[in-house]
Assembly symmetry: C2
Homo-oligomer: 377 residues x 2
């Protein structure tokens, strides 16, 4: 991406994630959009086009959000890519600017999972794996079992991901769960899909997040998008469930595009839909060697104050996971961190942030999408 038009994030905003049963999905989106516009210090009329990412918002959701803000005239459309929907919206916004089509793009994401009735995500029952019970918790339970088998990872390690997550999230006013917890408390929780217990699973959240992308830097701390990579999975059902081939591939491509390596990353927001996933991504992204994730966690390397803080926001497990909003909320967090505005969860001196979304997977295996963005100040 070296010689191409630089793209900057000049505004970010989001709603608190949580259960917003009294709010419409449109109202959540509008609050996030307005917050991002306010943060960028621009008027609604300054937006050249808008792209909305949503997993379950349905037809015309982004259009309705903007209509009631009076943002009509410029193009707006929706993208859907399951848990990568928000990140895909940002990627399309980058292309809109790089192609010369627009200067200022609004990318936003939203979902209201409480409206779906709660529980695990609705998956396409046309898929044979889904018909046979391959829900998301079941898939990640298999991943956890395999990681335990190969590397000696323990239930305690899986619980400690949650403990770190809540410790970070207590300082995040946007997080769904902000109360610190302890290993024993996590291990006493209800079993969802052995060995995954309730707090090890990201919750059913509602929320929205938005970023303003621009061809020009602005503000005191411009944040540049140094890489934007999207890939789909290999659909290789014979792959090792304890290893994310897709995660490794997308990170490798992002590092190459940014001209950086894992040693340059100051913080990462990764797709910890389940606690085992966070550990797998330490390994997939080169933050540690294969099998070393539990040790990295135990040393405190991935906690705020450590060598490479992961999910300072609390991640999906504590900030929450309203599908289409998640990828953009990760970028909001990254921008706040790079600007030094992250309060009690601040990663001191952060200069390079990596954000990563994965899923939904079709059939839940390693197919599906993954997106990695690298943000640099």
């Amino acid at each position: 991406m070296g010689a191409e038009q630089d793209v900057f994030i000049v505004g970010v905003g989001m709603t608190p994630f949580g259960k917003h049963r009294g709010s419409s999905l449109e109202a959540l989106g509008q609050a996030a959009v307005q917050a991002a516009l306010d943060d960028a210090g621009i008027a609604r009329s300054a937006v050249d086009e808008a792209i909305c990412g949503s997993g379950y918002g349905g037809p015309l959701i982004g259009q309705r959000v903007l209509r009631d803000l009076g943002m009509t005239g410029p193009p707006v459309f929706n993208v859907e890519n399951a848990c990568s929907s928000g990140a895909t919206a940002v990627r399309e916004g980058i292309a809109a600017i790089r192609s010369g089509r627009s200067d200022t793009v609004l990318a936003f994401g939203l979902d209201q999972l409480t409206a779906l009735g709660g529980g695990t995500l609705p998956l396409a029952d046309a898929d044979v794996e889904v018909q046979n019970g391959m829900s998301m918790p079941a898939l990640y339970a298999m991943r956890a079992r395999r990681h335990m088998h190969e590397f000696g990872t323990t239930r305690e390690d899986l619980a400690d991901v949650v403990v770190k997550s809540r410790r970070h999230a207590q300082h995040n006013p946007y997080a769904h769960f902000r109360t610190p917890t302890a290993r024993a408390e996590v291990l006493a929780a209800r079993m969802i899909a052995d060995p995954l217990q309730l707090p090890m699973c990201s919750p059913t959240s509602d929320g929205a997040a938005a970023v303003i992308l621009s061809a020009q830097p602005s503000g005191s701390t411009p944040v540049r998008l140094a890489a934007s990579i999207l890939q789909s999975g290999s659909a290789d059902v014979a792959h090792d469930l304890a290893v994310s081939e897709l995660g490794s591939r997308v990170a490798r491509m992002a590092y190459e595009a940014a001209g950086l390596g894992p040693e340059d990353v100051d913080l990462a927001e990764v797709h910890d839909a389940f606690s085992i996933a966070e550990l797998m991504y330490y390994e997939a992204f080169g933050f540690c060697a294969p099998g070393e994730a539990p040790a990295m966690l135990a040393r405190g390397d991935s906690a705020v104050g450590g060598r490479l803080p992961v999910n300072p926001s609390g991640g999906l497990i504590s900030r929450g996971h309203p599908i289409g909003a998640t990828g953009i909320a990760q970028m909001c967090e990254a921008v706040w961190q790079l600007r030094g505005e992250a309060g009690g969860r601040q990663v001191e001196g952060a200069r390079v942030a990596l954000t990563h979304c994965s899923g939904g997977g079709i059939a839940g295996l390693d197919h599906g999408a993954a997106a990695v963005h690298v943000l640099v100040r």
Copy 2:
């Protein structure tokens, strides 16, 4: 768009449109994708990324289509923009190439409206206009009434759009309705929303269409995308229902981008969701003066063999209208026409084609999206 990277359509393919109750939506998409790859003469592995447009296909539809073709690894995501979903997918494909991200992009669109139960399109019941009965036929009936009031347009004019449509479609092996009809037959049909009778409304169709976009021309008759414009409506409820402000705006922007005017257009595929719409678009696109559309039709100017053939494919009314596929099917027709491969419906010597999608509208008024593409050989 002058100095930017040229983008070419190097392959097109579609399924016949109609009622495909025995087929899955995925299978329809796969047939169209394979036909476009075959037409381009490239392997599945030559595609750098894929974008799927669908109005009602639901989460992960495009991903499932490609998974079962073994086209996994490269990015794939869905876009939704109601009746402009397919055209939006092509627009994103153009940006993917212009931004330097990809060289070869598959854009495809699909929907299976018979799976929705038939009848008029399901609209968002969150919209107050929808709650009050503003279905699509009702909106276009109001448009027709207003056009009749302002310009003296008649029921016979509305019927004659259908007669021309069927006359063209009899030569189109992909069309939903291929049997010629007569004015008296149309005027004897069931009333849907006065003055619109059944044949004046586009049908509930199933189908898929695909194009291969490339940074390099190939084949004996390369077709270049000279303009790709998407806009949203003004949401001005006080506007004149007989005039498409959105259509005029998007066409004006497309002409400017292409460096052409309406006098240069050799054929157009326009969004005749209802017969009144085709007449309104003659006027909005500068094919004739306001109020002159019925006369243009009566002179045969918009028929194959006339000055500016409109909807040589049969348009939405006869080819059919599987939402997400429509915008891409229009481009398939345009490419076949520009290559001289359109058989009995060939527009002789065609060099410039315009394709136009509009809608879904939120609330059915002039908000919603419209897209115009200009294709040049």
